[in-house]
């Protein structure tokens, strides 16, 4: 690539004019979104708004038909695959909690650790003191220390959500994409999750949180973007967005 073509922006995540269609259905329409380094952003929007698809685009699962997706100022994510994007430092928690069910909780975290992921390094890998400490710390944070030897498949839905957040912590990425983290959680757990995400954000991580639960979004207390039909409908504080006429309209149904 020549120097002239290289775009550079000061933001951690930069989406501009992104389009995706599945068999003629426009899931993402001219989507533009910018996140500053260290920012946390909440994304809301009705079912099918394209929130998950947006994460698929950022993490390389879906290739956009059009538009720019830049990470950390200048890295063009549309040219990279899932593995490369993960190695750059983008971690993701899936909407449907996806953990390795037949392996223990501790092994799930171990797999997520931010270490050499190549074949040889993994074959001869031996845990260092620092890595063991990281796992202990994460286990404590997600309150699963006592369950460390249990199979992840035996966890409740809410615990799986936490384990997946724990895997994100072990992965230690620069940008975290968190899709519906509090689905299936009690009010107390929801509150704890909000606290945890705020703490992660205080550690200078950039975080994108997709969530339907408005109490939770309010608790995060960050800028909110409302998506609808694959495009940004409104952006601002939670109060501004929920007072927006068009947002009210799409949420209450036409």
């Amino acid at each position: 690539m020549s120097m002239l073509e290289t775009r550079s922006t000061p933001s951690m995540l930069y989406l501009d004019g992104v389009h995706v269609s599945f068999d003629g259905f426009h899931a993402i329409n001219n989507l533009s979104l910018t996140l500053a380094t260290g920012e946390m952003r909440a994304i809301i929007g009705p079912n099918g708004a394209g929130k998950t698809t947006m994460m698929d685009i950022i993490t390389g699962k879906t290739k956009p038909d059009q538009g720019e997706v830049l990470f950390d100022g200048s890295v063009d994510l549309t040219k990279l695959d899932e593995t490369q994007i993960a190695e750059l430092g983008i971690g993701r928690k899936f909407q449907k909690p996806t953990v390795f069910e037949s392996q223990t909780i501790e092994d799930n975290l171990l797999l997520a650790l931010n270490v050499d992921h190549r074949v040889r390094g993994t074959l001869f890998w031996r845990q260092s003191k620092a890595e063991a400490a990281t796992i202990e710390r994460v286990l404590e944070t997600i309150r699963l220390t006592d369950a460390r030897d249990r199979l992840a498949g035996s966890l409740s839905h809410g615990q799986k959500q936490w384990l997946e957040i724990g895997m994100l912590l072990a992965q230690d990425p620069k940008l975290l994409l968190v899709d519906e983290p509090v689905a299936g959680m009690t009010d107390v757990e929801t509150h704890q999750t909000a606290e945890l995400l705020k703490e992660i954000n205080r550690d200078h991580k950039t975080v994108v949180v997709v969530e339907h639960d408005m109490t939770f979004v309010r608790e995060l207390g960050v800028k909110v973007t409302c998506l609808h039909e694959g495009t940004v409908l409104a952006e601002g504080t939670i109060d501004q967005v929920s007072a927006n006429d068009r947002v009210v309209e799409v949420y209450l149904g036409r």
């Binding site: 593995t83 899936f94 392996q103 797999l111 074959l123 001869f124 890998w125 845990q127």
Partner: protein, 389 residues
């Protein structure tokens, strides 16, 4: 903390398995060689050859379990790697015949003289040297698996589609090896072997040594598989098996991992084939038959997928049954029985023999271990506040 490689590789059942393989590998040949025929302790040569075949099948099953049981790659063409290893060994054995062939040609094997070959095809060069043939036993299946896997895994061919193209691969090789002009003896294959490393391949001593070597190869193959599956790489393989796409999002290059185990597995299958050929005395294109590969997968399913020991056990058990049934009046129905066995196992013992045994034994063992720990703690005067669930 990560346990030392030896402790993690050799858990109790692995140790028991190795002891059994070692005992069989040492005692059987000794009893064949040391005790006279007719003695109650004498194992006849034909039985040793038969068991030797089972041991080679067990190694093939192990190689299949490594990729299928741990990484979810269902290869229905592993017989091809086994056969290629077998052909490499067969080529060495052919060249050892030298001028003792029917046509007395010092260089060309009989079938080449018969087909009017003027000189040895280039790909037969070097096979008069044992070390070269032994190397090819590993390199040829390994290279094919690497090339095949590189194309298939990079294009993310998985599941049934991958199984189908592995079948196509072995079938294509079957057709190629059937051709006389392919240079490997056509449908007769390679046979009438005389010597291996200067020893008569038919003699009891050589057969005993081949049997012991097969057991050694099985033990080594098992150790390699255990070392792989108990490493962190083994955890990645299971992660790929259970949630391939999730594994990518953690930064693992899934295709490299698949390529690694697939190639390793093919090399093991090649070694199994190479040890098989001198013991059965022939290698022909029939070994590439798609059905053979499917049968090998059934052994693994019967013994218990993802347990390694189960794969080896399944190979021996199913093949023993095959020997018994195909030599009796039920012979024409063997394939039906094999099919029925596969269906029954899938329905009734989805974890196979070893998997079912483990499922039954583990809770019992855990209870016993806990009880032991508790009583030990009580004796030490340690008061346990509560046992972990």
């Amino acid at each position: 903390m990560t346990p030392h490689i030896l402790t993690r590789t050799l858990d109790r059942s692995a140790t028991i398995f190795l002891i059994i393989v070692a005992a069989v590998g040492i005692l059987l040949p000794l009893s064949n060689l040391l005790f006279p025929e007719g003695s109650a302790l004498h194992v006849p040569t034909y039985l040793m050859a038969l068991f030797g075949k089972y041991v080679c099948y067990a190694l093939l099953a192990l190689s299949i379990d490594l990729i299928w049981g741990y990484c979810g790659i269902l290869s229905l063409g592993h017989g091809a790697f086994f056969a290629l290893g077998g052909y490499a060994m067969g080529m060495y054995l052919m060249r050892q015949i030298g001028p003792r062939g029917v046509y007395g040609n010092p260089v060309l094997p009989d079938f080449m003289v018969f087909l009017n070959y003027q000189s040895l095809p280039w790909y037969w060069y070097g096979f008069d040297m044992f070390w070269f043939a032994a190397l090819m036993v590993i390199v040829v299946p390994g290279l094919l698996a690497f090339g095949f896997g590189w194309l298939a895994f990079r294009s993310r061919v998985t599941g049934v589609y991958l199984s189908i193209i592995t079948q196509a691969m072995t079938y294509a090789l079957l057709l190629a090896f059937f051709r006389n002009d392919f240079g490997f003896g056509g449908n007769n294959g390679l046979t009438d072997f005389k010597d291996i490393l200067g020893f008569n391949v038919q003699a009891d001593g050589a057969r005993a040594a081949l049997f012991a070597l097969s057991c050694l190869a099985l033990a080594l193959g098992f150790l390699i598989c255990r070392a792989v599956v108990t490493s962190k790489l083994g955890k990645v393989l299971i992660a790929i098996r259970d949630a391939e796409s999730r594994t990518r999002f953690l930064g693992y290059r899934v295709e490299s991992y698949k390529l690694f185990v697939f190639t390793l597995s093919a090399c093991m299958a090649g070694v199994a084939g190479a040890l098989y050929v001198p013991q059965v005395g022939i290698i022909n294109p029939g070994e590439f038959a798609p059905g053979n590969s499917i049968e090998a997968v059934i052994w693994v399913a019967v013994g218990g997928r993802g347990t390694l020991i189960g794969a080896a056990l399944g190979a021996v058990v199913v093949n023993y049954a095959k020997t018994v049934f195909t030599s009796g009046p039920l012979a024409p129905y063997w394939l039906f029985m094999l099919g029925a066995l596969f269906i029954l196992v899938t329905l009734l013992l989805p974890k196979g023999i070893i998997g079912t045994f483990n499922a039954w034994w583990e809770p019992w063992k855990t209870k016993r271990d806990n009880a032991n720990a508790e009583s030990a703690a009580r004796e030490d005067g340690v008061i346990e506040p509560k046992m972990a669930e």
